[in-house]
Symmetry: C2
């Protein structure tokens, strides 16, 4: 049973980090209590901003001893409410935002050691300065922090070639619920000495321990790239193009993103600097990116080769290859603007789902038909990482409809789409995690055996339940 901290206890916590790093004023704590989309606003009596592993350890030791709830937070960019306190006012926020050091860069060993509060873009830049690539890339990379990326096993646009965040972590330093520090900062490519403990904390959403630092994998920087926008009749054609591209380019296929015409329309309407990407208007589009270890020319030749075969096979209706670095950016901006461009179109009910890659076309056909029948006039805008089977199945409200009335149907629309996802053995959270938003959907999605295993692991590593209570699992 957790306790509400007394003023005396709060003072003890604050003393562990010093007054400058202990925030109590509601205005000062607001950025830590508020989810960035305003979906959640929590209460907290105290935000602690420790500056070292030792301070994190001392905080957790005291919290465990006194049964005080701790909500770990890094960049506060999560999309499922996992990083903000609840409304009770009894949870202390532990922010990693002062622990931002890049401890080491090892270009020869293709690894980098960063503290949990390092901003993703800073990690990318530190790698680039050493002529290496840290491939994790997502919309919020300018403000999200690596500890949160690790704790949510973040996805993004580079998963196809480099994997999820899980695949990019070599070692971790973690403070456990009782304050013990696990020094797991190995940089080894192979290590079969016991259970792979780091896997529990990657995607653990801060419920099993607090990641304070990580050794991350680096890669050679591609020497060249080419990006094409292809016009397609339907998702089946997109899948055929994906398979062709993957077969020809293998690991050099570093991006394959699916977009519907309506999404392109929204972008053209609302995102400055966008332009019609291909001469031919088509119901669907794919952005294809090829990287090369040699040159832009090699990448371009590979993409031309793929598109030529796709034309011959009748898979692609039309396509255009970016002629410059600027045009490559424009193509990617079309894709990255897909989410933002939905906002001016009114209410949007969102899903972050995945199905097996080969099932994407059938899933899309079925889900689009179902939602159009369920909410007449609604405008499905499904887009995303086809190569990972990960579709952001967003639905814009009918034109002229009442926004709130549409959004009020969120849960029943979720139920409809997640029901279809389940029939395709898919996931209701491909890359955003569970947090608070999807916690009560989890038992049905995972089944009782998996839920019991998760509960027993939580019990084993955080027996007092002080770490991020109520997130992912019911307390």
């Amino acid at each position: 049973m957790l306790n509400r901290p007394t003023p005396e206890l709060l003072a003890r916590f604050a003393a562990l980090v010093g007054p400058a790093a202990a925030l109590t004023d509601p205005e000062a704590t607001k950025p830590y209590r508020m989810e960035w989309r305003d979906k959640y606003l929590g209460e907290t009596p105290l935000v602690l901003r420790p500056g070292s592993v030792a301070e994190v350890s001392a905080i957790l030791a005291l919290a465990n001893e006194t049964r005080t709830a701790i909500v770990p937070q890094s960049g506060n960019t999560g999309l499922v409410g996992g990083q903000v306190p609840d409304g009770s006012g009894s949870e202390i926020v532990l922010s990693l935002d002062r622990m931002t050091r890049i401890r080491a860069v090892d270009p020869e060993g293709y690894s980098l050691t960063a503290e949990a509060g390092a901003i993703l873009a800073d990690v990318q830049n530190a790698a680039e300065a050493a002529d290496r690539l840290f491939p994790l890339s997502l919309g919020s990379e300018g403000s999200c922090r690596i500890g949160g990326n690790i704790s949510t096993n973040a996805g993004g646009t580079a998963v196809l070639a480099y994997g999820n965040t899980r695949d990019l972590v070599l070692g971790l330093e973690v403070v456990l619920a009782d304050g013990r520090v696990w020094e797991g900062l190995g940089a080894l490519r192979k290590d079969n000495t016991g259970y792979d403990l780091k896997q529990l904390f990657i995607g653990g959403e801060g419920t099993l321990g607090i990641v304070t630092a990580a050794v991350l994998k680096l890669y050679p920087r591609p020497k060249g790239q080419a990006v094409a926008f292809a016009a397609l009749a339907d998702p089946a054609a997109a899948l055929a193009l994906f398979n062709l591209a993957r077969d020809r380019a293998g690991h050099d296929l570093t991006g394959f993103e699916l977009m519907p015409r309506i999404g392109v329309d929204f972008v053209l309407r609302h995102i400055p600097g966008s332009r019609e990407p291909v001469g031919t208007t088509a119901p669907w589009y794919a952005l294809v990116e090829i990287s090369s270890g040699h040159s832009d020319e090699a990448a371009r030749s590979a993409i031309e080769d793929i598109l030529a075969t796709a034309f011959e096979d009748g898979v692609v209706a039309d396509a255009s290859i970016a002629q410059s670095l600027a045009e490559r950016s424009t193509f990617w901006r079309m894709r990255h603007g897909m989410s933002e461009a939905q906002k001016p179109e009114g209410g949007s009910i969102k899903h972050d789902v995945s199905v097996p890659v080969a099932s994407v076309p059938a899933f899309l056909d079925e889900a689009i038909a179902a939602i159009e029948a369920f909410v007449p006039g609604c405008r499905p805008v499904p887009f995303g990482h086809l190569g990972d089977g990960n579709i952001h199945f967003n639905i814009s409200q009918p034109v002229g409809a009442d926004k709130q009335a549409f959004l009020d149907r969120w849960d029943e629309v979720n139920a409809l789409i997640h029901g279809i996802v389940a029939r395709y053995h898919g996931s209701i959270s491909a890359e955003h995690g569970i947090g608070r938003l999807k916690r009560d959907l989890l038992p049905a999605a995972k089944g009782p055996v998996a839920m019991a295993m998760m509960q027993s692991i939580k019990q084993a590593l955080d027996p007092n339940g002080i770490l991020n209570p109520g997130k992912m699992l019911r307390p």
Copy 2:
């Protein structure tokens, strides 16, 4: 506390699989009791060979209820004694060798579902028949089974480009200690719904549950390959060549294996069909393999390009590129023969260690000097996967020395080498696991926090300790 099964209980276990699948005769059970190198010979009153998940479940439910020890086994090719029963005669062996079905191959989804008893080569062949690659490749691939590969997180020669077995698993079906079946056979590339439970069983050495089936990742088959043998002055030159090759070829660098001259000498002396691989004799050699999504010519051109730069930079003394498929095989056979060729040279004390890739040269210099001082006249034959930092640091006895007297120094030699490994933050088991052989070395290697976490996870998932007791962890 575990019980020794009574004859009545043994009969109940046998009835779960039927008489034909329950072996009791010591001659019939011997292949299941004996480790293939004769290092361990255990005792067992019963070998159960279930034919279905339901039978595995029934066995574990009864074992858990009656506190009976179960030793899971698949191909019995492990190198650390994890798969054989102890000498007490109270442990039942559960062999997966009848559950060999490839349940599904999905070329479009780049995945394959196999039962735990499927032989690795059969999995590779099933993938190839669908024009896909299952990249896991190791010496025992003709007899090891995929369940064992998963439970030991097997490595092999393709780790550099495709990762360890852990990286090749999309989903698992697992029978838990109490007989419950976890249906985790997802084929998703992205799924952030709760803890990634499969990670516990991958590399779990059968101590947390029994893997009965897996969904495995497939890849496009390379369209072409090129293999070169390069003569090198020292491991530092090998590392420079590796970095150059990786920088130029990226993911197309699919093999990079280091060998010392003495290992090549042993192969030339003892392995039929081997021949001097390069014109110039050198202290060290590297086998370099490049794959291409296009053609043999493209791979060859890439390897020529790399070697040309390496010559210019003075990194490589001489090199030869395989001119035919046959010559490629010969080059690989030189590498694969490295272990076998040590046998006729007398006693060999072995280590399966890893260090950060960039530290391999310094580690080798130090370890070779240390062992030569410690055992005058001994012949170090360190070889292996330089690109993964994984060195099989084997030491052949001095010429003419007494074999047993040399082997009697196994533990003190291990201690010397592992002490150096520890200073490089390396691993004492890079790819073979812990099992029985290295169990008592684990606490010093991992430290008390990691050991406590492992024990608490074991306790959470197998509270009665029936699964593979005494392997990896002390009971």
